[in-house]
Amino acid sequence: MSLTSLSFSFSSSPIPVKAPTKIRFQYKRSGRTVSVSALMDDSQSNGQQPGQLNLSVLRFTLGIPGFDESYLPRYIGYGFGSLLLLNHFVGSDLSAITPAQLRTEALGLSLAAFSAVLPYLGKFLPGTAIVNQASLPAGNEQLFIMSEGMPEALREQLAWSTYVLLRNTNTIAALVSVGGELCVRGYWSTPDDISRADLVDWFNKQIQNIGLPDLKDALYFPVNSGNEFQTLLPKGTRSLLILPLLRVSNSSTGKLKLSKGLVLLASSMTYAYSDKDRAWIEAIANQFRG
C-alpha cells in the first residue's frame, strides 16, 4: 500500500443523520497505475490559504468496511509494543543486552503507549468524526407510552419531541416528563411482570427514587451512568443526559426554582451528545418551560 497515491471523496449522509458529517475515503486503483484525485467540497476557495500546507494527500484508508482508521495508531502501538517485548525476551541474548538496546526499547515502549492514547485524544478534536453509529444493545424492547388524560396539545408536543430526539440524536431511549405527565419512547428494559398500564407509574416511581425531580442542573454522563440508574435505564446505556425543566416562581421566601419536569436521554454510545446536540436538546426542552 503506497501512501503517496490515494483519493478521497467527501460525502455527507442524507437525512436522517445522527452524527455530524461523515467523512468517507476511497482508495482507487486501476490496474497498475494509481490515480490521484482529491475531491474537496470547497466551492469558495481554489486551494489552501496562503501559508498553509496542503496535507490532504496523507489521508488514506485500507478500504476495510467497519474498520476505523483513526484507531490505527492504537493497533500499531499494541502490535509494535508486543514485538518489542518479543524481541527483548526471545530475539536477543538476555545476558548480553547493551544499554543502547535498553534505551531504544524503553523509548519504543513509551512511544507505543503514547500511540495507544492518541485515538482517545483525537476524539475530542473538532473535525475528527469517528464513524460510530449508536447500536441497539440486546435485552431492550421498543416502548411508547404516555400518561393518561393529557391535554391534546401537550400530547402532540410530547410525541413530536420524543420522535425528533430519537431520530436526530444518538439516543436510543427518551423520557420526557412535564408537570407530572410522562412520555416514554424508545428502547427500554422494563421488568416483565409489570403490565403496560402500570408502566407509567413504574417509571414515575423509579424517577422519584433517584430524586430526579429535585435536580437543579443538567447532568451529562458521557461514559458511564453509574449504578443508581441501572434499573431505570435500558441495558447497554453508556451516555446519559438529563435536563431539568425549571420554572421560577415567586414565593414568600423569594424566587424559587421549581422543577416542572425533566428530559432524560440515554444512548448506547460514549460521548454521544456534542455541544451542538445539547444546545438543540435544550431548545426542544424549552418548548415545555414556558
Binding site: 443523520v17 536477543s92 413530536w160
Partner: protein, 279 residues
C-alpha cells in the same frame, strides 16, 4: 402547591419536603475539557513526539556505535526499526490531525435593523410556537434573520432585516406574493425539499430576498408543507451544519402542522390583506 398535591404529579415534591437529588454526579473529564481548548498544541503534539523519538533513535545508534558482533546488532536493529516505525506512525497521525483542522470562518455581523413583526390576529398558540422557533434558531445556529410566509401572507419577520430607504428607516417589508412567484420558491415547491444556499453571494436568486440584510452569508429555505416557506438567514458562510439542517427540516414540518391546523384563521387574515391591497 397544596400539601395533598396533584394525584398524578408524582414528580412534585410537596412543599416543606425539599428532597435532595440522590443520584450520581458526572466525573470531571479532563481530556474532554483540555483538548478542545488547546487544539493547536494537541494537533502538533504527535509530530513533535515522533520527530524527537526519530532523532533520539538515530542519536542513540550513532553514540553507542554499531557493535561488531552480528547478533547484538541485529536485535538492536530490530528494536530500532520498531521504534522508528512507531515514531513515523506518530508523525503521520500528527500530520493527519493538522490536515483535518476545520477552516475557521469568521462571523459577519449582518447590516440592518432589528425588527420583530408578527402578523396580528394570530392565535396565541401559533404566536408562542413561532417565537419558540425563533428563540431556538437564533440561540443554537448562526441564524440572525427569520421570515415565515404562509398562505401568501408574511406571518413573521424577526431578527435583523435590511434597512429600507424610506425616511422612517424601518425594515424592508416582505412581499410574499412576489417571493412566491420567484424562482427560489418555485424551486422548493417543486422539489418539496429544503434548499441550503451555503454562500449566498454566489447565487443570483439573491435578488429575490431583498428583505434580508445585504451581507447575509447563508440562507436556508425550508418549505412549510405546500403553502409556506421559512427563510432563515445566517451570518456565517456554510454556517448551518448538516445537523442544523435536519433539525430545521423537522421544525419546519411541525410548524406546518400547527399552521395548517389554524389555517382557517390565517385565511381570514389573507383575505383581509388582499382587500387592503386592492382598496
Amino acid at each position: 402547591m397544596s400539601r395533598t398535591g396533584d394525584i398524578r404529579s408524582g414528580l412534585h415534591a410537596p412543599e416543606g419536603e425539599r428532597g435532595q437529588y440522590r443520584g450520581p454526579k458526572p466525573r470531571k473529564d479532563w481530556a474532554a475539557d483540555w483538548v478542545p481548548n488547546n487544539e493547536g498544541t494537541v494537533r502538533s503534539l504527535p509530530i513533535y513526539v515522533g520527530g524527537a523519538s526519530l532523532l533520539a533513535v538515530l542519536f542513540n545508534r550513532a553514540v553507542s556505535g554499531i557493535a561488531p558482533v552480528a547478533d547484538a546488532s541485529s536485535s538492536q536493529s530490530r528494536a530500532d526499526l520498531l521504534t522508528l516505525g512507531l515514531a513515523v506512525t506518530n508523525i503521520l497521525t500528527g500530520l493527519v490531525w493538522l490536515s483535518i483542522r476545520p477552516k475557521s470562518i469568521s462571523v459577519v455581523k449582518p447590516e440592518g435593523v432589528e425588527c420583530r413583526r408578527i402578523q396580528s390576529g394570530l392565535p396565541e398558540l401559533v404566536v408562542s410556537e413561532l417565537l419558540w422557533v425563533w428563540e431556538s434558531l437564533s440561540t443554537v445556529t448562526c441564524c440572525r434573520s427569520l421570515v415565515i410566509i404562509y398562505d401568501s401572507i408574511c406571518i413573521m419577520q424577526i431578527g435583523v432585516a435590511a434597512k429600507s430607504s424610506a425616511e422612517d428607516g424601518g425594515a424592508v417589508a416582505v412581499n410574499p406574493v412576489k417571493l412566491m412567484q420567484g424562482t427560489l420558491y418555485q424551486g422548493i415547491k417543486k422539489s418539496k425539499a429544503q434548499n441550503y444556499l451555503a454562500n449566498l453571494s454566489l447565487y443570483p436568486g439573491r435578488s429575490e430576498l431583498p428583505f434580508l440584510p445585504a451581507n447575509t452569508q447563508a440562507v436556508i429555505l425550508q418549505p412549510l408543507g405546500d403553502n409556506g416557506i421559512a427563510v432563515i438567514g445566517g451570518d456565517t458562510i456554510r454556517g448551518f451544519t448538516t445537523s442544523d439542517q435536519t433539525w430545521i427540516a423537522y421544525i419546519g414540518e411541525k410548524l406546518d402542522v400547527t399552521l395548517a391546523k389554524h389555517a382557517g384563521e390565517i385565511s381570514v387574515l389573507t383575505q383581509e390583506s388582499v382587500q387592503r391591497s386592492n382598496s
